[in-house]
Symmetry: C2
């Protein structure tokens, strides 16, 4: 409805050329204090707002960055978003969170996002096809990969120490005497799944124990995945004394199913999660888990992107940053009663 004022009107009102107005806005070259004031006043009066399309057409920058997440309702990702905001907002960038959600793979949506010419994009590299990765490499868009060590040529990545974190929680269970430990993992092809499986094996190896393949079932990173996982595990055997889950949502679902079967937690079966989402402390019994530093991951990813964009470090060597995790012990893995250690194994 507004008469849509352009840079020309501003120039006229201020009695200067459009170039000068542009320079005042960008600060790309010195402008005398007097003209700067005239221009700023005109901008204010006319409520002038530069057209971002026109701007990006010339400058090849959009001052906006996207976070492409597989599932925005998974509380882990909003925290990553907040971490990115911490860094990007002060730097004048707008962060857009895009949910890949229902999309089969992020392939189609990835194209969509790359087409938008965001200056930078943060995303999970796993689930990306060879094709997608090349598309990223070919595009102008700076990318930082999250939580995965998949290589995208020329892209930095930041991950948390999934292998170590998962090994820690498994070691914790072993140390409390649990031995019949089932593992409900996420999608088998997902990168976090592979890392957490690795951690699982490492913990067993470190304790001099071996893992039966049938102790691991693959589902999805959701509550429903937890339900399915419990069914699958109990179809194989029924004497589990611990179930470790690839994330908190799975664990919460698993606890629901266990309760449905009349199994007591942690007395009969200990349960652990991963991520330490808010709900982990709220469920009953409260859930032992591993803190996945989501917000810090976001901050780090944002810093990496900015350092690439601002030129200082535009062409430095690829960086791989690993953030530490922390075991959070709660009620769901309280030590087994004395009686159990006798009966088992």
């Amino acid at each position: 409805m507004a008469p849509e004022v352009g840079i020309a009107e501003v120039a006229r009102a201020a009695g200067v050329s459009v170039s000068t107005v542009s320079q005042v806005l960008s600060g790309n070259r010195p402008v005398s204090e007097a003209t700067r004031r005239k221009v700023t006043a005109a901008i204010e009066n006319l409520d002038y707002r530069p057209h971002p399309g026109a701007r990006s057409l010339r400058s090849r920058r959009t001052e906006s960055i996207a976070l492409l997440v597989p599932d925005i309702t998974n509380p882990f990702y909003p925290l990553v978003a907040v971490g990115m905001q911490d860094i990007l907002m002060p730097a004048g960038y707008l962060l857009s969170v895009v949910d890949a959600g229902s999309q089969t793979g992020s392939g189609h949506l990835l194209r969509h996002v790359l087409e938008r010419r965001f200056d930078g994009v943060a995303l999970h590299a796993d689930g990306l096809s060879e094709n997608d990765r090349r598309r990223i490499t070919d595009s102008q868009t700076r990318v930082v990969a999250l939580g995965s060590d998949i290589e995208i040529e020329g892209s930095d990545y930041v991950e948390s120490d999934d292998v170590g974190g998962f090994a820690t929680v498994v070691a914790h269970l072993l140390s409390t005497g649990r031995r019949a430990i089932g593992f409900i993992a996420g999608e088998e092809v997902a990168d976090p799944t592979k890392l957490r499986v690795r951690g699982f094996r490492e913990a067993f190896a470190a304790a001099g124990l071996s893992v039966a393949e049938s102790d691991i079932v693959f589902t999805s990173f959701t509550r429903e995945g937890g339900h399915a996982g419990v069914e699958a595990l109990y179809a194989r055997r029924t004497d589990w004394d611990a179930i470790v889950c690839a994330n908190d949502l799975i664990a919460i679902g698993a606890m629901e199913s266990l309760r449905g079967r009349g199994i007591r937690i942690p007395d009969d079966v200990a349960v652990s999660g991963y991520d330490d989402i808010e709900a982990a402390a709220l469920v009953h019994p409260s859930l032992t888990t591993v803190e996945n530093p989501a917000r810090e991951i976001g901050r780090t990813a944002a810093r990496l992107l900015l350092s690439r964009l601002s030129g200082d470090n535009a062409d430095g060597p690829t960086q791989h940053i690993t953030l530490a995790t922390r075991l959070v012990v709660r009620e769901s893995t309280a030590s087994a009663p004395e009686t159990r250690t006798k009966g088992m194994q």
Copy 2:
């Protein structure tokens, strides 16, 4: 890194004019099947992607829509986002979720978002200053307001029936014999707060009871708000037999504080929330609450925006849509033991 191919190269490769390529892309005018195929092939071969800046510069549309939320870590909003995606994705729009988060008011960020020239923006109207609202009216950007009946001239809005929903849960508590009912509300100035307070009063009025002002405390829509709210209520009196909360996060926080004081839920004090976030079913005791149809709100908002953008209904009268809510009774408000009704009031 790619040699950045433009529409001209595509035209050359296909042996047609740039206009024709453009028409094939937009479908704005008939194109013969033969040329369409040539053009599509050229686009594919060259991996051509139109520059959105250039495009929006001429067409004045960006094919993207923003959802501006006050706190992306509040699980209510991701659900709204998913609902919007349901509708927008098939229509070819990209949805960007922008977190106002730490921003004081959404004022500054609102400007930022309006400057980006999204085709449409969904946001909460409360918390907007008179100035902000006029800015919206003046801008080209179509806006739909969420969960609030604040008028933005020319903008549609969609809300859930907060007044009715809240009255229902309060009526439920009254019907189980609770009379000393405290209310932990959100920020006093927030619009949802006002509506829920109204529902609170209505339920009392309908039962022929009156509300003491001191029964209502204002905090914030977070778990910490719940903690603070309990402290504030118990500073006034200590014989509460029910506490209703303006949302689930507050309720969860309140339950934590009550437990800290050795108060049993629901035996001593019943607690209720609002929104029915996932955690409400997971906490112990599980939380009685009101389902706030977040996803449906998102869908409705998206439909409203699209109907405005696609021209059919571009200038129809302003629409106000109210969605029904649903009471979800769980453990936290189980009927008071026989003994209590004798002792109270």
